[in-house]
Symmetry: D3
Subunit: 127 residues, 6 copies
C-alpha cells in the first residue's frame, strides 16, 4: 500500500509540477528527506490525487488559497505553473487571483497577479 | 453604468447566497450602508459576476480561501451554502476543504469540515 | 522608574479602556499575573502612552490592525470602545473599518462593522 | 506498513489527546472519514510519533504555534490538555503562551492564557 | 458616475502615491487591467477618498494594518511613502509601527521599521 | 530595576543571538532606538529570560511559532541559529519544523526547512 501511495503521488506530482518538483527533493535530501516523502505520499498520494475533483479545479483552489495567504510566493508560483500544466488557461488563473481582492484584499490580488505574470513570462520565453 | 453594476451584482448575489444575503444588508443599513452597496456593486457586480470563470469554480475557490484563512467562519458557511446553491455537490465542497490540510494545515481542514457539516445539516433539515 | 512605567501605563489604560480593563487583571490574577503587569508597564506604560501620537490616532490605528487581523474579536471590541473613550466619533471608527475592505478584504470589514455595531449598541443602551 | 502507521498514530493520539480525540472521529465519520484517518496515520503516525523529539517538547511547540496563529481555539485547548497529558506542568504551558506576547503580540498571549485557564479549570473540576 | 469615481480615485491616488502608482498600471496593463481600474475606482474612488476621515489618518491606519499583516512589504513601503506625501511626519509613521509591537508582535514592528528606514533613506537621497 | 531588566535581557540576548543581535541595534539606532531597548528590556529581560522554562525549549517554541507564521523569515533564521547557540541539535530544530506541516501546512514546513538549511550551511562554512 505504501508503494501505491508513492506511485500515485509521484504521478500526480509529475503531472502538476513536472521536473520542477525534483529540485525540491534535492533540496530536502540531506536535511529532511521524510518531508519530501510526505509531499509525495501524503500531499499528492493521499490528497491531491483523489478522484472526487478534477485536477484543474484542484489547482485553481490551491492558487486561491496561496494567493489569500500571501506568505508562500514560491509555492504560489509553482501552483500557477501547475494549473497551466493540467490544462487551466492563463485567463482562468487570473480570474481566481482577481477574486481574492474581495476575500483577502487588494495587496493579496496584486501580489498574486505579479506571481502569475512572472510564471507566464517564464513559459513564454521557453517557446 | 452604476445601475448595471448594481443589477449584475444583485443577480449574482441572489443566485449564490439567496435570501440569506438580505440579512447582511439589514445589519449594515443603519451603520455602514455603503459597505452593503460595495458588496453588491464591487464584490458581486465587478468581480464575482465576471464571465471568465463558471460560478461553481468561483464558489469553490472562495471556499478554499476562507478555509485556509480560518478567520471568518460565518463567511465560510455562507460560501459553502453558496457553492451548493450554484450546483456544486457536497462531495466537491468536502474535497476542496480536505485539500486545505496540505496547504494550510489540519486545523484549517478540520474546522472547514465542521462548517460544511453544519451547512449540510441545516439544508437537510429543511427538506 | 518601574513605578513611573506602572503609573503612566495605568493612567493610559484607564483613559482608554476604563473599568473594563480591570476584568482582564482579575482573569489573569491567578494564572499569569505577570502578563497583566506587562499590559500596564510595557504595552501601555512604554508604548501606548508615548507622546509622539495623539490618543485618538493611536486607538484608530489599533482598530485598523485588529480589524485586518480578524483573530481577536474581543480585543477589537475593546479598542473600538477605547477609540470612543478617547474622543473618536463612531463615524471615524466606521471609516477606519471600511478602509480595511481594501487592505484585508470584505470579510474583515464586515466582521469589523459587526463588532462596532455591538459596541455602539451596548453604549447606547447605557445612556 | 499502513497498519503500523495506524497503530503508531493511534497510540500517540491516545497518549496525547486521550478519549477526547474519539469525538473528532465521530464528527468526521459521516462526512470526511479520510480526514480522520489522515489525523491518525499522517499527523500522529508519520509526524508526531517520530522519535527525534520528546512528547513534552512536541506538545509545547504545538501550543506555541496554535497560540501564535490564534485561529483555532478548539485545537489550542486540545493541545494544552495534550501537553498536560504527556507530563508538562501548567507552569510550562503558561510560559510558552507568555512568550508568544513577544512573537505574535499581546492579543495572542491573552487569548492563549484564557484557553489555558479554561483547560486547567476543567481538569481541576474533575479531580 | 463611473467617470466621477475614476476621477476622484485618480486624484486621491496621485495625492497619496504620486507617479509611483503609475508603475502599477504598467505592470497590470497586459495581464489584468481591470485590477488597475478597481484600484482607481473602488479602492481610491469609493473608499480612500471618502470625506469622513482626513488623508493623514487614512494613511496611518493603512500603515498599521500592513505592518500587522507583514505579508505585503512592497505595499507597506508604498503607504509609508504615501503617509509622508499627505503630510505625516516620519516620527508619526514610526510611532504607528512601534505600536504594532504590542498588537502584532516584535517581528512585525522590527520589519515595519526596516521598511520605514528604507523609504526615509530613498527620499533623503533625492533631496 | 530598569538596570536589572536591561542587564538580564542583554545576557539572554547575547547567549541566544550573540553578536548577530548587535546589527539590529545599529539598524534601529537612528530611527527607533526605543524599539531596540524594548527588545532588550521587555522581550529578553522580562520574557525570554524567565526561569520557568529552559532556554532550549524557549528557542524551539519560538522556531515553531515563526515557522507557522511564515511572515518573518529573517527572524526565523535568527532563532534557528539561537536554538543551536543554546544547545539544541540541528535534528531537534528539524523535528520542530517538520511538525508544523501538520499544524500550519506543507508550505510552512518546506520554507522552514529552507531557512534551517541556510543557517546550518552558514555555520558549517565557518568551521
Amino acid at each position: 500500500m505504501e508503494n501505491q501511495r508513492h506511485e500515485r503521488g509521484w504521478d500526480a506530482l509529475m503531472q502538476i509540477n513536472g521536473p520542477a518538483a525534483e529540485r525540491l527533493f534535492e533540496e530536502l535530501a540531506d536535511i529532511a528527506p521524510d518531508l519530501g516523502r510526505w509531499v509525495v505520499e501524503f500531499a499528492f498520494g493521499d490528497v491531491v490525487s483523489r478522484p472526487g475533483l478534477d485536477p484543474r479545479t484542484r489547482e485553481l483552489v490551491t492558487v486561491a488559497a496561496l494567493t489569500a495567504q500571501g506568505q508562500w510566493p514560491a509555492e504560489l508560483r509553482a501552483h500557477i505553473a501547475g494549473a497551466l500544466n493540467v490544462g487551466c488557461t492563463p485567463q482562468e488563473v487570473v480570474e481566481v487571483i482577481l477574486q481574492m481582492a474581495v476575500y483577502a484584499g487588494f495587496p493579496a490580488a496584486i501580489n498574486g497577479i505579479r506571481a502569475a505574470k512572472e510564471v507566464f513570462a517564464a513559459r513564454d520565453s521557453k517557446t
